[in-house]
């Protein structure tokens, strides 16, 4: 997944969780703060659940709780994608 695709998925998830803020969320950047975008705790859980479903992932609760910037979300996703990629590689080598 490219960086653009990761950012696009985060945007999609946030719009899903907070459709009334779609216009603002359209302009998010890596440095955007979720609090400043008006994403509350439930919005964050909803958005992460959306991403988890799309990626068949499960983000650790303690790491999810620390998410504040869009880039924190990106880091969680990259971590999952990397470990998943490693697993796929391992499966192939077996």
């Amino acid at each position: 997944m490219s960086e653009e695709e990761i950012l696009a998925l985060i945007r999609e998830a946030l719009v899903y969780a907070a459709p009334d803020k779609a216009a603002q969320l359209d302009r998010i950047e890596w440095s955007s703060s979720l609090s400043n975008l008006g994403i509350d705790s439930i919005g964050l859980l909803d958005a992460s659940s959306y991403i988890e479903d799309k990626l068949a992932a499960h983000f650790p609760d303690d790491k999810l709780a620390r998410v504040e910037l869009v880039s924190d979300f990106g880091a969680l996703m990259r971590q999952h994608l990397q470990s998943n990629g490693h697993q796929d590689e391992r499966r192939q080598s077996l």
Binding site: L34, S35, D40, S41, I42, L44, L45, D46, S49, E52, D61, D62, L64, A65, R66, V67, E68
Partner: protein
């Protein structure tokens, strides 16, 4: 809502466990357990005043909180007696904060009385309309309050403010005990009616706000001061997620229920939207 005898008996036993610990280990009083003689006004500033005044304001709604608690629970001994004990403990919190504000000179007696008048000119209305919702709301609100006081306890210790540290330590300990009691009640509800409890849980969490949010003067301005409230990360990490775990559920389950509730709401709105023009035509 009628509660069967088995449940009543469980709640009675749960209350007795809570009350035994409260009576034997947790009781304190504002005269002997707070070292007022060590009060040093130089250790305080206006931000401390706003913080303590806000905590005091929230605790001052005890008459409304207890009225709601009693009305909801009067037919169930364990829960009604808990409401009485809870009200007693919370009333002591308001007293301790009031004494701290005035004795330290952070507020004059007149300033305090003006503030109290402002606070009590409004009435707290519970976001919960059943006992089950009250217990769920209580579990979140008590843990959040504990976390706020605990932060202040650590801050006061760092600053060498022994008196304030003791006040927030004692009040925080009570809040943690209240949270534990509510969590047990919600666990019973989960056993009896998991779906209904999850529906209530979703509704309470989605709309959760601290009791003072709509009542305390300038609340939005006050929460900008560090330590008056919790950050979203703190609330998530130390309140929402552990509370969900204590109820035996997960954030994914919660989100599924919230989404289903939202979908039902949308469907209802659409149905009503379609029905409205038809009703107008019929009226014509």
């Amino acid at each position: 809502m009628s509660v069967d005898r088995i449940r009543k008996e469980r709640m009675y036993r749960t209350y007795m466990e809570f009350f035994e610990i409260a009576e034997k280990k947790r009781r304190w009083n504002i005269w002997d357990d707070i070292p007022w003689e060590k009060l040093n006004p130089a250790l305080n500033d206006e931000a401390d005043a706003v913080r303590i005044e806000t905590f005091c304001g929230v605790e001052l709604y005890v008459p409304d909180y207890t009225a709601h608690g009693f009305n909801m629970s009067r037919s169930i001994f364990g829960q009604a007696w808990f409401a009485a004990n809870w009200g007693y403990e919370e009333s002591k919190h308001a007293l301790a904060f009031r004494e701290y504000l005035v004795r330290s000179g952070l507020r004059t007696q007149d300033q305090y009385m003006d503030y109290e008048d402002q606070i009590l000119s409004k009435v707290w209305i519970s976001p919960a309309s059943t006992m089950r919702q009250t217990s769920i709301y209580g579990a979140f609100q008590e843990i959040a309050t504990y976390l706020i006081y605990h932060q202040q306890y650590q801050k006061a210790l760092r600053e060498g403010n022994e008196v304030l540290a003791r006040v927030v330590q004692l009040t925080g300990r009570d809040e943690a005990a209240h949270c534990g009691f509510y969590r047990k009640l919600v666990a019973f509800e989960m056993e009896d009616d998991p779906q209904g409890t999850m529906e209530d849980l979703a509704q309470i969490v989605k709309n959760f706000q601290m009791p003072g949010a709509a009542l305390i003067p300038d609340y939005e301005k006050r929460v900008q001061i560090e330590g008056v409230g919790l950050t979203r990360q703190q609330f998530m990490a130390h309140a929402i997620l552990p509370t969900l775990r204590s109820f035996g559920t997960t954030r994914s389950d919660l989100i599924k229920i919230i989404r289903a509730q939202e979908a039902r709401k949308k469907e209802r709105r659409e149905r009503e939207g379609e029905a409205a023009p038809a009703a107008l035509v019929a009226a014509e």
